[in-house]
Symmetry: C2
């Protein structure tokens, strides 16, 4: 099967371009650091970023579709959010076009919902991951919760093929901030999180009512008192943050809904291990599903 | 009444020296930025910092007593923590001396406790504030909870004049981190928190089970969608963080215990306003009570 679509997953800090076949598989993938927030916001800058990465794909004259922050207020062109509940058709209907050297590039909208607190929540790009995941796991379209770990993790509740609502958790950004800039980071050696993760998740699960901002201080005291080796402190911090995310996310779920993890495999594996500790073992994992989602949406445009 | 004591409140980032009378009042106060963590850890550096600030007080030949990080691992001399429950006598008994140009300076220990999660918590300096507060409000010595807002807020439970246990909340540090380094700070104009505080506290009170790391993201979406003016976002962030601290702190309290706020008046006023929203109106406030605490402890050494 040959390529049917040029798909772009164009986030804040990176751009990923894919040649996608009719089955939703990426035949070729190229990435660059020309994320939407790294450019100056002008159409010329976005256009030039595409020239640099996939200038040689122009001659293929394939349809082109993009998801992510490229459609935000500071993107190539602002594409208004679609409101939840929203399915593939609603998203496809909301796409707007820009011109890349005489070719149409369609930009997908993000999603917006109203949380139970009466506060808006938003995503741009993850909605396409959700649709891709449902292409690959159609058994989950009727009812599921799709968890996409990351800097800003998203928990999307799916019913009848539509995203009903979702919640963002800033766990990844908090981890990076606390590690780099807080008093907690000072005791941590450089490098990846080692042991300590299970202890952190367990503390959040069992004692989370004591509050995240209290439990975070334990990262320091456990290090200072030698209860945990310094090599385990970043793992403990990661476990605390993910544990608090699960504590809140699972409490909001309708209880029987199957879970699915979508995203970077190593991070998803940490979430799966944490979910196991919360009594949700063997949650399936899919890597980035943007290609399948873009292909599905392209058929509706 | 003349000065009976030179008291030092020597924290990480600042040094405050006081001439204290027999009633525990500061007759004169001098401050410097020579905090314990700004010095190189050598006795000579600590000694020189005192020379610069109160060299002319040496001739008074008064007893000298210090609390705070000056007694930590990286301080002038490490003074082992006293374990909770702990009262004034236990703290006074734990003091160790250093030599400042031929005069004794006694350094007080900090306090350590074990939280219900089986994790240690620590304070250095706030234990002296607690004792000072109980000098000024002896009616609270039998049973109370003393809340000391700050970078690392402390909630100390008092029974029969002794600190039973306590909890640290990193609310102040999280506020600074999120404001300076996170995606949330980008929408906030410079300057003090304005409106938005009540809304943030209320969101934490009513919807806090959704999780701090989720609710934090609302600071961004409320700004992006224009639901809150950008001038109100830092107030909302402050309200969310303080609200989550109160949510957790009040849940751990034995319900009837009277509360007392001790610390910087403007910050204490924010906590008092938040406590009012949590149904705890008119909580009394005392400014820094270190002088009274140091005087009380000096009588026991």
């Amino acid at each position: 099967m040959g390529a049917h679509l040029i798909g772009l997953d164009w986030g804040s800090s990176s751009l990923r371009a894919m040649l996608i076949d009719a089955g939703g598989a990426a035949l070729e993938t190229r990435t660059s650091t020309a994320g939407a927030s790294t450019l100056d916001g002008s159409p010329a800058a976005f256009s030039a970023a595409l020239d640099a990465l996939i200038g040689d794909w122009r001659d293929k004259a394939l349809p082109m579709l993009a998801c992510g922050m490229v459609g935000s207020q500071h993107g190539w062109r602002e594409v208004p959010y679609a409101d939840c509940p929203s399915d593939a058709r609603a998203l496809a209907n909301g796409a707007l076009s820009v011109d890349w050297r005489g070719q149409y590039l369609r930009l997908l909208p993000g999603l917006r919902c109203e949380t139970p607190a009466g506060v808006p929540d938003v995503m741009r790009g993850e909605e396409t991951q959700v649709l891709g995941a449902l292409q690959l796991r159609p058994d989950l379209a009727a009812r599921s919760c799709i968890v996409m770990p990351g800097t800003h993790s998203k928990w999307a509740r799916v019913r009848d093929g539509a995203v009903q609502d979702f919640a963002t958790h800033m766990s990844g950004e908090l981890y990076a901030l606390l590690r780099q800039h807080s008093v907690l980071g000072r005791l941590m050696p450089a490098g990846e999180a080692g042991t300590g993760f299970v202890e952190g998740v367990s503390a959040a699960r069992d004692q989370g009512a004591a509050g995240l901002s209290h439990q975070l201080f334990a990262v320091r005291t456990l290090g200072l008192t030698g209860r945990l080796p310094h090599e385990a402190l970043s793992g403990y911090l990661s476990g605390l943050l993910i544990g608090h995310e699960l504590r809140a996310g699972l409490a909001e779920l309708d209880q029987g809904a199957p879970l699915l993890l979508v995203g970077e495999p190593a991070l998803c594996a940490r979430y799966a291990a944490a979910l196991d500790l919360f009594g949700r073992p063997a949650v399936p994992v899919l890597p980035n599903t943007a290609a399948a989602g873009l292909q599905r949406l392209a058929t509706l445009i």
